[in-house]
């Protein structure tokens, strides 16, 4: 890369960061609560999805236990920063499952013991929160280490099942008698300070750190080794990559950031309960990774944006409507699907432009719309209907559509960079290189030039080696 381009890229990056910062400022100051929360959720889930991408996308190990790591980080953060009022409420509750020792586990108490009373006020909550988050991340990383070790012996589907099992085990363990003093059993914690989890500044700061670490890792020697494991485990090992060390590294780092995301998430929710760390969480991240592009951090962030958008703004889909409305919507959807098929085929210039299936779709759509419009006046379709779980269905359908039309995801394996944006591809030959390529493939032209780079004249050798004296 020339210096000019480097300067340009630095300026563009600074401008980009500035634009994001201004955007965040406007969201923070003038955005609705819903928008602020959606942005914070995007950042939190982005951290989790990007960290899962390190295992699933970069190292190529299918892991389904990410919600377990988030739970560990989440509960530890919650326990460590729970305000004294919340502790008293738990202590006085009839269903208290904690003991005096675990009730006393808080960063505030730690500071008091050290004589740092100044750090126990509400103004300095962020200090305690950061410490709690870091501890939560570390313990989650430890769990990642524990899960990473069996990953050394297992591959593919079997490993996926093991990680899924681990995720569920962690969740169920949290409700057992052994751990309920730390988690307050199935009641969990409520009244967790949500100042940081709902602040776009804090969450985006953590997202930026996560993305920076993951991107730097991906494009370092270690990241290349991890990608080598994804591409071909046997070849990577035969090229000197220590499989055990690198897989465990991927699991541990990924779990650390998942723990951070978990801590931020309980803050966003203001509660830590077992039913917010279900497998569905991992499912959302998997959708984000698959839709965006496996292994591409940019793609994962795009995918997360989509998932969060559907989750946060998809609630009209789950309201109550009359059946007629649903029938009309279904008909319209079929027509849109037919139109999209036509458009796609036109763009790709593939196969017959119109075929029976498209006509059937159009016909069914038209029938649906007419039936929906006419039905109510004839006494049909008047009842109300509420589609629970429509958002998840929508995400699943989106995943299917992406898998059919662009199985590598929106970004594929590409990452965002300024030279990517300006289409400065290094892997396409320049005119000079094309000319070079031409003489390489032309035996007449390259006779002397071959000799030039090999230092040996190829034509000098004995025609048949078997005639030579050995």
């Amino acid at each position: 890369m020339t210096d000019d381009k480097r300067t340009r890229n630095i300026i563009l990056t600074l401008v980009g960061i500035g634009i994001v910062a201004v955007g965040l400022y406007f969201v923070d100051s003038y955005g609705s609560t819903k928008l602020t929360q959606a942005c914070a959720l995007f950042a939190i889930w982005g951290i989790a999805a990007v960290s899962l991408n390190l295992i699933n996308g970069v190292t190529g190990i299918l892991s389904l236990g990410h919600h377990g790591f988030m739970l560990v980080g989440g509960y530890i953060t919650a326990l460590l920063i729970l305000p004294d009022a919340g502790r008293e409420r738990i202590a006085s509750s009839a269903r208290n499952q904690m003991n005096d020792f675990t009730l006393g586990l808080s960063i505030s108490n730690g500071f008091r013991a050290l004589g740092l009373d100044g750090l126990t006020t509400d103004d300095t909550l962020w200090v305690r929160f950061l410490i709690a988050l870091f501890i939560g991340g570390l313990v989650a990383g430890l769990f990642g280490l524990l899960v990473g070790i069996p990953s050394l012996r297992l591959r593919g589907d079997y490993l996926a099942i093991v990680t899924f099992g681990f995720g569920e085990i962690i969740r169920l363990l949290a409700s057992t008698r052994l751990f309920s003093p730390f988690t307050n059993g199935s009641l969990g914690f409520s009244g967790i300070p949500s100042g940081i989890g709902k602040s776009v500044w804090w969450t985006f700061l953590f997202l930026a750190i996560t993305v920076a670490v993951m991107a730097k890792l991906k494009f370092s020697s270690h990241g290349r080794a991890l990608q080598g494991i994804r591409e071909d485990e046997i070849a990577a090992e035969a090229m000197g990559v220590n499989l055990a060390r690198h897989k465990v590294l991927a699991f541990t780092l990924s779990a650390f950031f998942a723990g951070i995301a978990g801590g931020l998430w309980v803050s966003w929710l203001a509660t830590a309960r077992l039913d917010v760390f279900l497998f569905f969480l991992t499912f959302f991240f998997l959708v984000a990774i698959s839709v965006g592009g496996t292994g591409s951090i940019t793609g994962v962030l795009l995918g997360t944006a989509l998932v969060v958008f559907v989750q946060q703004y998809g609630d009209p889909l789950e309201r109550t409507y009359s059946v007629a409305t649903w029938v009309i919507a279904g008909g319209a959807l079929l027509i849109v699907a037919a139109a999209a098929t036509l458009l796609y085929r036109n763009l790709k210039r593939s196969r017959p432009r119109l075929n029976a299936a498209v006509y059937v779709l159009l016909g069914l759509g038209a029938v649906g719309i007419i039936a929906g419009l006419v039905g109510p006046s004839m006494g049909y379709f008047a009842e109300d209907f509420r589609a629970f779980g429509m958002r998840r269905i929508l995400l699943a359908v989106l995943l299917i559509v992406i898998m059919i039309f662009r199985p590598e995801g929106v970004m594929g394996r590409a990452e965002f960079s300024w030279s990517w944006l300006f289409r400065e591809r290094r892997n396409e030959p320049t005119d000079e290189e094309r000319a070079q390529d031409a003489w390489l493939s032309n035996p007449e032209l390259n006779k002397q030039k071959n000799a030039a780079f090999s230092d040996k004249n190829v034509d000098d050798r004995t025609p048949d080696p078997r005639e030579r004296d050995m």
């Binding site: 890792l217 290349r224 591409e231 035969a238 090229m239 080696p465």
Partner: protein, 277 residues
């Protein structure tokens, strides 16, 4: 003392004796070829040296130290690297990345140094890139310039073979095991590979042990040839001696008698079993 000393190794997969009592020495700076009919145990032999399999008995010593019990990546650390008969490149990564990954095992410093791009890491990364270019330069301009940044899946078959050889060289191994380096190449490309292997020894200073089926390549570059059949070494010596050895002719072409048919059918069974193992 020979660089690689293989003494009396045995390997069986269930009831199938893949390698029986095999001895072979490779001296520093030699090019030694291993030939033999399909299913003779050549690839198993490579897998035993590189730690993919462990021999049932016997010893494999490299520069005096035993390689037994080492994992493939530890064998690479000792200085033995290989190429694969069926290409095993990192298909979605660029040519340059493919040649950088084998240098990772020499990297000093942990992942944090890599993430933070500490000066020590930057220096090593620069050296790694220089070495990658140096190894790719063995193949002339074929893998240079824009090709460096192309993913391997767009390369021609011959270029993939070249990348695989460059990748093995980049591990900094002293001994390279080449498993059919010219498989699937046309005569002109085979000739080029022959020259490259010679230059790998003469200019690169590598010792080379190769498995090959193309006799003109074997005859041209080998200092010594070992012939395997049914997991045993049936002949060893110069190319001239070996190709005229009646046992070798028999292994390849069969005996002029009725018994040869039985031998052939057994050979096929053995090959199938070895492949499945």
């Amino acid at each position: 003392m020979a660089m690689l000393e293989i003494s009396n190794i045995n390997k069986s997969f269930g009831g199938l004796q893949a390698i029986t009592g095999l001895n072979l020495d490779v001296n520093e700076g030699e090019i030694v070829s291993v030939i033999g009919p399909n299913g003779a145990g050549k690839t198993t032999f490579f897998n035993l040296i590189t730690g993919v399999y462990q021999p049932d008995s016997g010893d494999i010593r490299f520069e005096g130290d035993s390689l037994l019990g080492l994992k493939p990546n530890q064998v690479v650390d000792r200085g033995v690297a290989r190429t694969f008969q069926n290409l095993r490149l990192f298909t979605n990564l660029s040519v340059l990345d493919n040649v950088l990954i084998p240098q990772h095992h020499k990297l000093k410093g942990n992942w944090l140094a890599s993430v933070l791009r500490l000066p020590s890491y930057r220096r090593q990364e620069k050296l790694m890139r220089e070495k990658a270019l140096e190894k790719l330069a063995f193949f002339g301009p074929r893998l240079m310039s824009f090709r460096l940044h192309q993913p391997v899946y767009v390369l021609s078959y011959a270029n993939r073979r070249r990348t695989e050889m460059a990748r093995a060289m980049a591990t900094d191994a002293k001994l390279l095991l080449l498993d059919e380096p010219s498989a699937g190449m046309n005569p002109k490309e085979t000739e080029e590979v022959t020259q490259i292997i010679k230059r790998m020894r003469d200019e690169g200073g590598y010792t080379i042990l190769l498995v090959e089926h193309k006799m003109n390549l074997v005859g041209e570059i080998s200092d010594r040839v070992a012939v395997f059949d049914y997991g045993q070494k049936i002949a060893e010596g110069s190319y001239q001696d070996v190709v005229n050895d009646p046992k070798v002719v028999e292994a390849y072409l069969g005996k002029r008698s009725d018994e040869s048919e039985d031998a052939e059918s057994e050979d096929e069974e053995g090959e199938a079993a070895r492949e499945s193992a």
